[in-house]
Assembly symmetry: C2
Homo-oligomer: 328 residues x 2
């Protein structure tokens, strides 16, 4: 595969080249990994002017319908939209039951949209890296908006927030008064809390839930990078496609404000630093996973299991072995 | 400090020496760390005949009252009991509001009991290591039963299960019919599910909850190491001290059965292997934390933030740097 050519085609916005590029970065074959590193080198500076929107919400909050409605509206405005999913449940179970493509039927058929289901058979660390690289490819391909979606299992909302400029939390109206066990950490990440399904029988409940979240957001400490009035909670109806113009104008004004303050670039720089350190952690741990290291690990592990070595002394032995480079 | 002498005193069951030993292993000072490694070397073979009981349960399930009642009963049988806590919330918040000692007032005053609150100001990895080492000291000091308690936040229940021979899950009676959002993973670890507060108004609810859990346990796949009738769900009342003889005879018969099958030693050997690999992971990551490594990390990180290097290429640079030993 000619990587320079592929990079050029992606830069021209060629959808098929983009799909091939993503397949390449999703591959775990060593030669493919080598080629993707080269592709990333060629494209990582082309960050373009994409707005990256992170979206999380519990199952049943209506994420797919939301993305489809938002995506269709943006396409109507002449924008190009990419959708990526981080689905840790598929990473755990080895495959999502319902592919994301089938879930966003209308959007997937649009020429200005590019919907990519989450990669299967990968641990979260792997999914995170591949999604990060897919975002870089999407930016290089000139997408105006890149939506990165997750159900928020485990650490996946942190991963998404480190990939996005703006973070949205989608909520279904609560049956009672209480906040639906949304983790405080997720609330702290959100720029906009969207209470979905503000239609029909649920409209009143949605308004009530919105008030609850608005109060909760006021209680959170003010963060650096919060424009006036943000973070805020609003009601929408993905089904009736209501509230989307407000959501988009909110995103746009937050974008402009952060760019004017220099906070936009600052956040992106911080994210690059985060991904560097995260990749480094993965690489350090990967030293335990080479064929030779596994043999040594089992050998030393046997002596630990027999009580001949304490775990800590065994660690010293393994560290010396790994530092010597014998496991490479 | 004379470590050989300290080791001897601990082996003789000297409580003050044990307390000093635990304080030593909890210290993060480099010279103390060196001494604790020596202490662990001297004592790690003295695993004795302790039964290590892991206990988890949500806040409000009555863990402290349970431990106090069980502990007092065991002391009544002439056994010596050690209680350790892994409290990740204190690790996160930098200190538990209610010390564990105050929570187990009666037990703490018994000469045959040794109650140790969880160490403060430590990350979970650190808490895990220190608790593991405290268990080894307790075994060397000849405690018959070592109870390791956690609230089950994050990964702490895995940590506890890798430290214990028998794993107990404590549950408060549910108000409704459903299992109270207990993570499947915890259910799979449990040898005994104890539905507490089977007294007064809650007795009926406790019986119902017990039936629910008994069904749920039947649905879980049979594990290697499950004696006939295990895992099982039973009702108890820590307040009225009812059901404790049954719990203890259950633990004893499970112990005898696993020892006869060779599964007891097999589990302990597997745990040693687990701790070796876990310590190795910590050590590999700790390479990023030395003073020199942090300087280099910041320097390379700056270039990543400026877009001069991709995160992956920066990782290559850092790996070369760390492998060279320059950061040590």
């Amino acid at each position: 595969m000619n990587i320079a050519e592929l990079a050029n085609e992606i830069r021209c916005g060629d959808r098929r080249a983009l799909a091939r590029g993503i397949t390449l970065i999703e591959s775990s074959r060593a030669d493919h990994r080598c080629q993707s590193l080269k592709l990333m080198e060629l494209l990582h500076k082309a960050s373009g002017s994409s707005i990256r929107i992170g979206l999380t919400g519990a199952p049943g909050s209506g994420k797919s319908t939301f993305i489809e409605s938002l995506g269709m509206m943006l396409i109507g405005k002449g924008l190009r939209v990419m959708v990526l999913a981080i689905d840790p449940s598929s990473a755990y179970s080895g495959g999502s039951i319902l592919g994301d493509k089938t879930r966003m039927d209308r959007l997937s058929r649009e020429h200005a949209a590019f919907v990519r289901p989450s990669p299967n058979n990968a641990v979260l660390g792997g999914v995170a890296r591949r999604t990060r690289e897919a975002v870089v490819l999407g930016q290089a391909a000139g997408f105006d908006v890149i939506i990165i979606e997750t159900v928020g299992v485990g650490q996946s909302e942190t991963v998404v927030s480190e990939l996005s400029d703006i973070f949205l939390l989608l909520i279904a109206p609560a049956s009672g008064d209480e906040l639906q066990g949304v983790k405080r950490g997720i609330m702290e990440l959100a720029d906009l809390v969207l209470i979905n399904k503000a239609d029909g029988d649920l409209e009143l409940a949605a308004t009530r839930t919105c008030t609850d979240y608005a109060s909760a957001l006021r209680l959170l400490r003010k963060r650096l990078g919060d424009a006036d009035g943000f973070p805020k909670a609003v009601t929408i109806s993905a089904l009736e496609e209501r509230g989307f113009e407000d959501v988009w104008s909110g995103i746009e004004s937050l974008t402009r404000w952060r760019q004017a303050q220099g906070l936009w670039d600052q956040r992106r720089a911080g994210q690059l630093r985060y991904w560097f350190e995260e990749e480094l952690r993965q690489q350090l741990l990967a030293q335990m996973g080479t064929t030779k290291a596994k043999v040594e690990l089992a050998r030393v592990g046997d002596r630990v299991a027999l009580g001949e070595l304490t775990p800590m002394n065994a660690v010293e032995e393994m560290m010396t072995y790994l530092r010597s480079g014998s496991a490479l």
